[in-house]
């Protein structure tokens, strides 16, 4: 993917200091400053180590391409919500969206009504879910961009409101009528046409939901005028204002996009559970925490203005394949608990690395 050209104060083509560096120094700098490169190396490392452990007989199952491919179904909600956080965090002024999990819960229930109870056609229900998600996101957007709420507070408040509504809307009951149960087929793995026989089967959700979202968000950020405005307000919103950008509207749209993506994730989650559960997105530690973790791991600067779609995708693949390996390495509860340890340790390192590269090279991302 082409890189986003960020109007950073010190661009990569710094004149003199680089010229005296050795090949190794330049390589180290590239790995430290270009997060996608570092993540890609880590992905290869994880796959190689796990395959070696597999070959040595330490794993409870085989860590092969079919297993890796089928585990990608877990990446679908994670990448999509990671992209939602990317858009919001890039918009700057402490941008963050704690309410994504609650939106997933609430829209999941609404989608359950649309498709499972009122019997609307599937396409209309999905579009309806995205629209409702966008409206909920717009509530965040208006509070942040027009009323001046700190994003953390605005989305904390809506997190509580949406979560509560999701549970109350159907008297704490999940919706699992026949049409909803049949949606489970969306989680199946399918063969890719034409070249599919040479590749492992891919979960349908990856093709139907993940790829379109990635393409749309990538296009929005890198090829549409809106993307330019978003990075501009995230980098310096006063400068953006003086250059004629409608800062408030651009920021509000970022939260609306986040809500719309969360609405689509709700459909994915409903199909995975074969049921619209009122606590789908916020049970336990919820979906907001992992999605923020992915965004930070992807090198998205929490201060805004810096972040790449490819980083989110590769960071998620890293987490998913590492988790898949851990599950085979440690059987039972220990495995799933170790996943949260891995997530925490990786996030600490990613954050410390962000801070270090920022001070060392004055760039991040």
């Amino acid at each position: 993917m082409t890189s986003i050209k960020i109007p950073a104060p010190t661009p990569d083509t710094k004149p003199s200091p680089d010229s005296g560096q050795t090949q190794v120094q330049r390589l180290v700098k590239a790995i430290l400053t270009q997060r996608v490169m570092l993540l890609a190396i880590l992905v290869v490392l994880v796959v190689v180590i796990m395959s070696a452990l597999d070959a040595a007989g330490f794993l409870a199952g085989s860590y092969n391409s079919d297993y890796l491919s089928s585990s990608l179904i877990n990446a679908v909600p994670l990448v999509m919500l990671g992209l939602a956080q990317l858009v919001v965090i890039v918009s700057g002024r402490g941008g963050i969206d704690l309410s994504v999990g609650a939106i997933v819960s609430l829209v999941g229930m609404v989608f359950g009504f649309f498709y499972g109870v009122w019997g609307l056609p599937l396409l209309a229900s999905v579009i309806g879910a995205i629209a409702v998600g966008a409206v909920l996101g717009a509530v965040n957007g208006v509070m942040v961009a027009y009323l001046g709420f700190p994003p953390l507070i605005a989305t904390l408040a809506t997190y509580y409101v949406f979560r509560s509504l999701a549970i109350v809307i159907n008297n704490q009951q999940p919706i699992s009528t026949k049409p909803i149960q049949d949606l489970y087929s969306l989680s199946n793995s399918v063969e890719i046409p034409l070249i599919g026989q040479y590749l492992p089967n891919v979960p349908l959700g990856v093709v139907l939901f993940l790829l379109p979202t990635v393409v749309v968000v990538w296009f929005l950020l890198n090829r549409a005028p809106y993307g330019r405005r978003l990075f501009a307000i995230g980098t310096n919103d006063i400068a953006a204002l003086w250059s004629g950008v409608n800062v408030a509207a651009s920021r509000a749209i970022a939260y609306t996009v986040s809500g719309a993506i969360s609405g689509l994730v709700a459909v994915v989650t409903v199909s995975q559970f074969a049921s619209a559960r009122p606590d789908a997105g916020d049970s336990g530690s919820g979906m907001a925490l992992p999605s923020i973790t992915i965004a930070v791991l992807a090198g998205v600067a929490i201060t805004g203005g810096i972040g790449r779609v490819s980083g989110v995708v590769v960071a998620t693949v890293l987490i998913i394949w590492l988790n898949a390996g851990i599950l085979l390495l440690f059987v039972g509860n220990v495995g799933s608990q170790l996943q949260s340890l891995a997530l925490g340790v990786i996030l600490v390192f990613a954050a410390l690395l962000n801070g270090y590269t920022n001070r060392r090279y004055r760039v991040m991302g």
């Binding site: 709420f149 904390l156 997190y159 509580y160 409101v161 109350v168 929490i302 509860n333 410390l352």
Partner: protein, 342 residues
């Protein structure tokens, strides 16, 4: 703008000469706190009228017992947020402290003081880890505490060893809801909370070290230039919060049953942040106080217990918490806007 309003009393801008203003503290009670007291009184009267049992001692005593732990954690959270930070790992810290204390009592039958000391030691260490990582890494606290929250979750769940802790002895009863946990009819845990709140209030208001947190929250780099040890202050704030979490965990244990399951602490991080924010402390740092936080905790917990007493689904309480945050912060924003115009 924020700095000025935090350090000078409202309305004195026009009359007081400039050099006197520096020595003055903000008003003892802010507008937000007056509104909160009004809201709590209105809520209690309303609940008292609709469910007559609400204002009886049998109903208020458990309410005060439930307020105590959340308020104690929120006091630590207040200090952190005044200095411009945030701690979203307190929920997972409660999990670790509570399971350590519970296992100690079940396996070794430790006495009251040892149990509380152990829980506070564990909490203090976890908080110290947060503080050191934030001070050394210069990373936004929300990221670090999100990360350590995951790590603490792992530690806690490993100590649980996939089983509910059963048969917890009533060692901690003095901090609990029962008849043993009362002094002159008031829950001991609530009195402990009041004592800690008073100490924190005095420290934040009249001790130089306490004022430093406001300075750091208003403008970190400027505070550093005036000689404040910003990093040490951060480590202190997170460590103190850890100690308070340890104490609060003992109260949560004492309020619970003989069993402790793995969901303890879930949602507490956001609940304490909600209490602090409703209490008028700015998430951007530099403004706020302990008094508002206590009122915020009382309001949040009153709503939670009121909703169940009215026979509504308990999750409806979250709806009101969310709306309270919107109203509290919204009015604060409006007041700030009015100040700017004036």
């Amino acid at each position: 703008m924020r700095t000025a309003s935090a350090l000078s009393p409202r309305g004195s801008e026009t009359s007081t000469p400039r050099r006197n203003r520096i020595r003055q503290l903000p008003a003892a009670v802010s507008g937000q706190e007056v509104v909160l007291v009004g809201a709590i009184v209105a809520l209690w009267v309303l609940l008292g009228l609709t469910t007559p049992a609400f204002l009886s001692a049998g109903s208020l005593q458990p309410l005060l017992s439930n307020i105590a732990p959340i308020a104690i954690i929120a006091i630590g959270q207040t200090i952190i947020m005044i200095s411009g930070g945030i701690d979203v790992s307190v929920g997972s810290m409660v999990l670790v402290c509570a399971v350590v204390a519970a296992k100690l009592m079940v396996v070794f039958d430790t006495p009251l003081i040892v149990t509380i000391a152990a829980a506070m030691l564990v909490g203090g260490l976890l908080g110290l880890l947060n503080g050191v990582l934030i001070a050394v890494g210069r990373v936004h606290p929300i990221i670090i505490t999100f990360a350590t929250s995951n790590i603490f979750l792992f530690i806690g769940l490993r100590i649980f060893d996939s089983q509910t802790v059963t048969g917890i002895p009533p060692t901690l009863a003095v901090l609990g809801k029962g008849i043993n946990g009362r002094f002159l009819g008031i829950p001991v845990s609530f009195l402990v909370m009041i004592f800690i709140a008073a100490a924190a209030w005095y420290y934040l208001r009249y001790v130089a070290g306490g004022r430093h947190f406001y300075a750091i929250g208003s403008d970190g780099p400027a505070a550093r230039l005036t000689g404040i040890k910003v990093d040490r202050r951060a480590v202190l704030a997170y460590t103190v919060t850890g100690l308070l979490v340890g104490l609060a965990s003992c109260m949560i244990l004492a309020n619970g049953t003989q069993n402790l399951d793995q969901t303890v602490g879930t949602g507490l991080s956001l609940a304490t942040i909600a209490a602090v924010v409703i209490g008028g402390t700015s998430v951007l740092g530099g403004r706020g106080g302990v008094l508002g936080t206590i009122l915020g905790a009382i309001l949040v917990q009153t709503v939670a217990s009121g909703v169940t007493q009215l026979g509504l689904p308990s999750q409806l309480g979250d709806l009101f918490v969310g709306l309270f945050i919107m109203v509290a912060v919204g009015t604060d924003l409006l007041r700030a806007r009015a100040r700017r115009r004036a």
